[in-house]
């Protein structure tokens, strides 16, 4: 058996393991996906909206929060302007019934949220991005989780608001699957991110851990890990929904994903000591190793892909050049005769599993019918969109290695 065959088989084994783990968690908990812990107590909530150059969306975000179905005397809205260069501050200054802090300088989202936390009176802090719009019933669905003193944070399903362009549609599929995946991880206490679009935190805990890390560019991953490390739990409320604006060009999308990846690396680096620490439970034994291993496998897999297909392409190109030089025909009907091998079985199996996961994920997260158009988007998502991931990952690594990380 050749070395490369061993590498393929290793990748297949790891992929199968991930698939079966997800499948088993899903099967054990499928009746509890939409479980909502009814609110026994309406906690005071301080909603913090950090804003930087969000003149187009800030008003809609604040209005969406204002119209949330929750006792009005139990909610305070805090908007922190992070030194916007557009009209954000002017727009917010005219909104009534909110607390507004204008920093006058740009120091990042974490710093803005921390400022909000220092000035918040609520027991619970809800952080909402200035381009996200929570559904009316989202707070009521989420708040009950805090009755459990072990819960440090609660996240919601984040869906895409703008779905006109293909890239937005692809992200819509992705966001549904992310929400579903996060719910699956919730069942094993492994929610590793509390997205900025809408997440709630126990204020006491945030103060205890020193708030959000101002040096990390993915503060929503870092804070989630900090909570887990302090032996609290992050929960995912699948039925609570928030809609968000997503990048509408490939360039913006790429930049966003670079930020996610680099922030992810920063976080892994920061928490490297937690690797396989049994006393940290799922955080040390699963969350950190899984994050690290999936990145390593993704990069390794990319290089294997480049090696194998690059070699093939180079050889085909040389073959064509030589054929032309020798006056030989190069246009011939490709052979459709497929000889089944060990990989045919595994690739088909994994593809079927991926399709099933996507189907269940979409049905669960959005309860939509899968028609022809949606099927096309899903196929495009699986066959093309996902292949961009390793490329962004490599670019992120390059930027990190070059020390060129600025946001």
């Amino acid at each position: 058996m050749e070395f490369i065959t061993g590498v393929y088989l290793f990748f297949i084994f790891v992929s199968l393991y991930s698939v079966f783990l997800i499948l088993l968690i899903y099967l054990r908990n499928k009746d509890k996906l939409y479980f909502e812990k009814g609110a026994e107590k309406f906690y005071d909530i301080s909603v913090i909206i950090p804003a930087y150059n969000k003149e187009d969306s800030i008003l809609d975000t604040v209005n969406a929060v204002k119209s949330i179905d929750y006792p009005k005397d139990k909610i305070e809205i805090i908007v922190v302007d992070d030194g916007s260069k557009d009209k954000t501050a002017r727009i917010v200054a005219n909104i009534e019934g909110i607390k507004f802090f204008e920093k006058g300088y740009n120091s990042g989202k974490s710093d803005s949220v921390n400022l909000g936390i220092r000035n918040a009176r609520g027991e619970i802090i809800a952080v909402i991005d200035a381009d996200s719009y929570p559904e009316k019933d989202s707070f009521k669905k989420m708040i009950g989780y805090f009755d459990d003193p072990e819960v440090g944070a609660v996240t919601a399903s984040c869906f895409v608001k703008n779905t006109g362009k293909l890239i937005e549609k692809l992200q819509a599929v992705e966001y549904f699957l992310i929400a579903f995946g996060r719910k699956i991880l919730d069942f094993i206490d492994s929610v590793y991110v509390t997205p900025g679009s809408l997440s709630m935190y126990r204020k006491k805990l945030l103060v205890e851990v020193g708030g959000f890390d101002t040096k990390n560019i993915t503060e929503d991953i870092e804070i989630a890990w900090k909570i887990l490390k302090n032996k609290y739990k992050n929960r995912m409320c699948l039925s609570a929904k928030v809609y968000t604006d997503v990048p509408n060009t490939l360039r913006k999308w790429w930049r966003q994903r670079l930020r996610w990846n680099i922030g992810g690396f920063q976080t892994v680096h920061k928490y490297k000591d937690s690797f396989f620490k049994k006393k940290l439970n799922m955080f040390g034994l699963f969350v950190v190793p899984r994050f690290f291993i999936s990145h390593v496998l993704s990069i390794t897999g990319f290089f294997v892909f480049v090696y194998v297909f690059g070699r093939e392409i180079f050889q085909k190109a040389t073959y064509w050049i030589l054929s032309i030089q020798s006056g030989n025909t190069i246009l011939e009907a490709p052979s459709l005769f497929l000889i089944p091998s060990v990989f045919t079985f595994f690739i088909l199996l994994l593809f079927v599993f991926t399709l099933v996961f996507t189907y269940i994920g979409l049905k669960t997260a959005n309860k939509i019918g899968i028609g022809f158009r949606v099927s096309f988007i899903i196929l495009f998502y699986l066959l093309f969109y996902l292949t961009l991931y390793p490329l962004v990952l490599l670019h992120s690594l390059y930027l990190l290695a070059a020390g060129n990380v600025r946001w």
Partner: protein
Amino acid sequence: MVKFGDLFWKALILTVIVFLLGVLLGFALERNRIGDIEREFQRIDLQWSDAKLQTLYYQNLEPRFCNSAIRENLEFADKVYNEGLKIENYDAASFLTDDLELEKRKYALLKVEFWLNSIVLRERCKADYINLVYFFANDPEFEIESEQDTQAEILKDLKEKYGKSLMLIPLPIDMDISMINIMKGTYDISKTPTILINEKIKLEGLQSLDEIENLIENEQL
């Protein structure tokens, strides 16, 4: 982890079971294909023994029936050639077992034997077919692989064009088979691709269809 440990273990057990099933299926598929080639080899080998005896008989006792011997030899050549292509396809889909290597060696030996017989037959029976031996490497260096692929395609076209008047005998030179090593020494074959036409003309490196055709035409004159 302990709390959810059973899930992780169950997932591992399931993975191991499915993984082993997949690998076993892969082994079974490859073994089945090797069995197919082995059966075909036995059939061809039997046919070859028959053809050899016919050659012997016609050459020594009934020279006037040389044409029958030549026809048998040519038909046999086509069978071995097509079987070689089949082994090539199977080889591309073999990842787990090395047993195909043995079959490849057996076929290589059969092809050498057939080549020798073709030489004898052409001389004794004054046959006018062309013997074209194509020396290639099973495991060539990266830059040689494309040359070999191109040469193989050119020779396939040539074979299609000339049909039974061309005996195309592809021989691997890197399988450490004594008889092939002797042939390599005899004709001073040291690199691939190399073509040997009627045991007289040796062409090293990639050759175009026109070049080979010209030489064949000259040989036939």
